[in-house]
Amino acid sequence: MSADRLRIGFIPLADAAALIVAVDKGFAAQEGLAIDLVREVSWSNVRDKLNIGLFDAAHLLAPVAIASSLGIGHVKVPLLAPFVLNCNGNAITVSPALYEALAASADGTLHDPNVSARALAGVVRRRRERGDAPLVFGMTFPFSAHNYLLRFWMAAGGVDPDEDVALVVLPPPYMVDSLSSRQVDGFCVGAPWNSVAVELGVGTILHFGCDVVARAPEKVLAVRAAWAANRADTLARLLRAISSAVAFINDPAHLDEVAMLLAAPRHLDVSAALIRATLEGRLRTKLGGSPRTAPDYLVLGRDDAARPEPIDAAWLYAQMVRWRQTALSADALATAKACFRPDLYDAALGSGVKPDRAADAFGAFAGPAFDADDISGYVAAFKAP
């Protein structure tokens, strides 16, 4: 039997691990799949090539799958997320100068995002009084957890992300350069770029993403809805291959091997030690400092995190509504929720039909509890910054 040939696009980041391992450790082959992993340089490319059918599937920012299905900011192409590749994995890094300013303005320990957000508001206020230019923060894409985490954090301290600071999109490989050349004062990005900034002494990690939102859906495996319908069996085999890869990755005995594999030039092309630290959630937050450990820094599918829960899609949609990327509508909410397909996940993995999670398990450090049935109330409950 000849194998099913699939082209899958990915961005060289640690959270593409499950796809890379599925191919390189033979889990795809076991399912009769021959996968060409295609490394891309921008999320726009990944999205467009998936949309027009040059890719069968892709490693994609979870909010992009939803935005594409809703036709926000781009052409409308219905996409599905039958597998969540990871939760978390991001961090907020600031320049040493901004870190100093935050420390001077803090009314407690900066480890507490409430304190750091209030300190940021103080810094912003003093800069305005002095007539200094607004602080600039980099993030990777308008529809990304990076954008939403930064906004969530600063708004909790009373900073309006659209008025008081400038948020700019920067490609991840340019983040560190932009920080060292002072074009940005901070950024929110995925691994390994925060650690790269720390090791070069140009940035200090202020928060892990999980300090802001304990469990935020990050990247998904995305496919076109029409493709999923036509290639149901292929999709099920793909999900099984990725699920086997997730189990392999989460076995501590394989840590070194996975780190080496991801570090390879054809994949991420960065040091294996940095990737290993990322996988372990053991990161130095400043040059010469001792590492900080957070087991949930990057959650690659363990503890059912891979199951796409509609409430996760609703939460991402609510962030889009909160930041006025789109207007709230019941239809759009239903479309967003339908992007995340636990039924496809359950069927492929033979795990039986489970009830979808209904309660807020996001663990945001501030703001109201999330209620997918009352997004308008949820958005209104954040006090106006």
Binding site: V41, S42, D48, I52, V75, F141, P142, V169, P171, P173
Partner: protein, 220 residues
């Protein structure tokens, strides 16, 4: 299949995928065009093509720092960017609701233009246009992009082939020299020997020549 499944609207009302019977594309020399490409040669080829095509207001951006600010300053009607450029994501910001944006810009992806988009993506280029610009005015620009990008790719292939051929010729010359000295034969005989060996072993002459050169280095 991919076009139909991607753009269900097409399947529904059976509109043709190709645009042959639509309005004739209109050339509009007044359009301000910005080319964002870190490859200066390719950018120059495209800019020249556009100028030859009658577009007088073409600007190239090769430096990616402060890309968005530069674009806002230039205030273009059309932005062309290569797909190898990570800064493509920076442009995604133009579509966001933001006070900083002077003019709304929309990507050139109308659901009826799947074929044109596929051709562009295939050639490695993407286009963005200001909102409201008629696509008949963009079509000739996009066509030109596709042909110039493809021409550039061919040029690069050719260059690579030429460079390979050049280095092969150098190797063959060196191998000939080694054989002439070692076996005390003339140049024509040395070449004939290489050719005969290559034929017998079903290899390229350059491969045999490389083997001779390597062996000579080892025996030095």
């Amino acid at each position: 299949m991919t076009i139909r499944e991607t753009y269900p609207a097409l399947t529904r009302d059976h509109r043709p995928l190709f645009t042959g019977h639509r309005a004739t594309p209109q050339m509009d020399p007044a359009l301000k065009i910005v080319i964002v490409d870190e490859n200066p040669v390719r950018a120059a080829i495209l800019a020249d093509g556009l100028r030859e095509g009658g577009y007088a207001r073409v600007t190239r951006i090769e430096e990616m720092t402060n890309l968005l600010a530069r674009i806002y300053t230039l205030d273009p009607d059309v932005i062309l960017i290569d797909l190898e450029n990570p800064s493509r994501d920076v442009l995604a910001q133009m579509f966001q609701v933001s006070r900083a944006v002077k003019r709304p810009v929309a990507m050139f992806v109308d659901q009826s233009d799947a074929a044109a988009i596929e051709a562009a993506v295939d050639a490695g280029v993407s286009a963005y246009i200001v909102d409201g610009l008629k696509k008949e005015r963009i079509k000739p620009i996009l066509d030109l992009c596709v042909s110039r990008f493809n021409a550039f790719a061919r040029l690069q292939d050719e260059l690579e082939r030429t460079q390979n051929a050049l280095s092969e010729r150098k190797t063959i010359d060196r191998a000939k020299g080694i054989l002439m000295k070692a076996r005390n034969i003339g140049e024509a005989d040395a070449y004939a020997l290489l050719r005969k060996t290559a034929m017998n072993e079903n290899k390229k002459i350059a491969e045999v020549a490389q083997a001779v050169v390597t062996a000579a280095e080892l025996l030095k």
